[in-house]
């Protein structure tokens, strides 16, 4: 099996790893880099639990080949702890009670970060459209949408 060495920035930290060519970025982030905040839900881009930012743009890391991270900036939910907008969203999720089982939360937070960067003051409908690639099976979404709306108003 062909291994490939890649260099990229992971949450601001220069990182070098060697990965099999067909490995997904999600597997690399969790099992090689050891950051388990990014979740494996469906593995086919339906649920959004694995959402990360690649050069600031949100993607499903389960659909991304790890080798494509070479030379680029990867931000996971852990990286948002150092980011003012990310922190604001995280606090809003806590305050609104938008977390139940918590499995979708990292993906929701990262996608909300993408949404609020592009649309700082979204309508509720824009928030719904923005997170349509993220499934939550507990909350019914209302509190998640409340949280994102609250974060946009701070």
């Amino acid at each position: 099996m062909s291994q490939q060495t890649i260099d990229f920035t992971l949450n601001g930290v220069p990182t070098r790893v060697s990965v099999p060519v067909q490995m997904s970025a999600l597997e690399m982030i969790r099992n090689v880099a050891g950051l388990t905040g990014t979740k494996y839900g469906c593995g086919e881009g339906e649920c959004g639990a694995c959402t990360i930012l690649l050069d600031g743009v949100s993607l499903n890391s389960c659909l991304l080949f790890a080798v494509e991270c070479d030379g680029r900036q990867v931000t996971t939910v852990e990286g948002l702890a150092d980011d003012p907008l990310g922190r604001r969203i995280e606090k809003a999720f806590v305050d609104a009670g938008a977390v139940q089982c918590g499995f979708c939360t990292p993906g929701m937070v990262v996608q909300a970060r993408q949404l609020l960067e592009r649309t700082p003051h979204p309508s509720r409908e824009e928030i719904q459209r923005g997170i349509e690639g993220n499934l939550c099976r507990c909350t019914g979404y209302v509190k998640i949408i409340d949280a994102i709306e609250a974060a946009s108003k701070e």
């Binding site: 099996m1 062909s2 490939q4 060519v21 067909q22 997904s24 593995g43 086919e44 881009g45 339906e46 959004g48 959402t51 743009v57 949100s58 993607l59 499903n60 389960c62 659909l63 991304l64 080949f65 080798v67 494509e68 070479d70 996608q111 993408q114 949404l115 459209r129 923005g130 349509e132 690639g133 993220n134």
Partner: protein, 290 residues
């Protein structure tokens, strides 16, 4: 399980087509949004070499060239939707993109990838067909770069099958800038708006002038092994006023000319009904709003 043992990431088109010619057995990676799940599910087998074409600048960008808009194969659906030239001249692609999967997938999936996947339900294919798009292909069989192009409908052979030669790369799609009075609609019908593979889709385009509908193009998705032209429907519309009788005749022609299959997403009967009803609805909308 896989014979994949080589990875290349060419940084120019020249380099890519030379490598394609030399390496022979190559799986091409663009956005990866289909390749990854399809390969995990065993529906696509990796060939010996995985070629990541994302580092090739010639495959990027959207530009106006004479009376055409050229959309580079690596343009993501999000980039396409946000581009001023597309928003100004090809708003149909913006509305079609809006129904494409989810934000995360629009940020990764590429126009060229959607075309090369050749899914009968590919969300950009029907809109591109009614816009009169051509695909631009490149290869290097000998010392010179060989380019050819063909109308999009000719490119599709069957589900996942195209006329792309083994050592050829799809470099761009070219779309003529629509004339004055041009109207276009795309309708995708599935069980939910986001992340759904359509049960059917319909594209209608043409020029509406003095009440008459001309230069009509109709295409259907998910009713045949490839996206298909609605030639009989076009004929029922061409040069006519969009009155109730014409619309009824066109909807009937549409229903009669599609031969869908029954599968997990819809039965053949239901698909034909939907083609009829949605064609009618689209034409009524065009008629009422212009």
């Amino acid at each position: 399980m896989t014979a994949l043992d080589n990875y290349v990431a060419p940084t120019s088109l020249e380099q890519a087509v030379v490598q394609l010619q030399e390496l022979g057995e190559v799986t091409i990676l663009a956005g990866g949004t289909d390749l990854m799940p399809q390969s995990h599910a065993g529906r696509v087998k990796f060939k010996r070499t995985l070629m990541n074409i994302r580092r090739i600048p010639e495959l990027r960008g959207i530009a106006r060239e004479d009376d055409e808009i050229r959309i580079g194969a690596l343009t993501t659906i999000s980039e396409m939707m946000a581009h001023p030239l597309v928003r100004e001249h090809l708003p149909l692609l913006v509305s079609a993109g809006d129904h494409f999967a989810s934000d995360q997938i629009r940020n990764a999936g590429t126009v060229g990838g959607n075309i090369c996947n050749a899914s009968p339900a590919g969300d950009t294919l029907v809109p591109l067909m009614v816009l009169g798009a051509h695909v631009e292909l490149a290869s290097k069989p000998d010392d010179t770069l060989f380019r050819r192009s063909m109308p999009l409908p000719e490119f599709f052979v069957g589900p996942g099958k195209t006329r792309l030669a083994p050592a050829e790369l799809l470099t761009a799609v070219r779309i003529p800038i629509p004339p004055k009075g041009f109207v276009a609609r795309f309708h995708k019908f599935g069980t939910r708006p986001a992340l759904d593979i359509s049960a059917i889709s319909i594209g209608v385009a043409g020029v509406l002038k003095d009440g008459k509908f001309t230069q009509v193009r109709v295409a259907f998705g998910a009713v045949a092994p490839t996206p298909v032209c609605g030639c009989a429907t076009e004929e029922a519309l061409e040069g006519r006023k969009l009155d109730a009788a014409t619309i009824a005749a066109a909807a009937k022609a549409a229903q009669d000319e599609v031969h869908p299959i029954s599968d997990v997403r819809a039965s053949a009967w239901y698909r034909k009904e939907m083609i009829h009803n949605m064609t009618k609805r689209i034409l009524e909308d065009v008629s009422a709003n212009h």
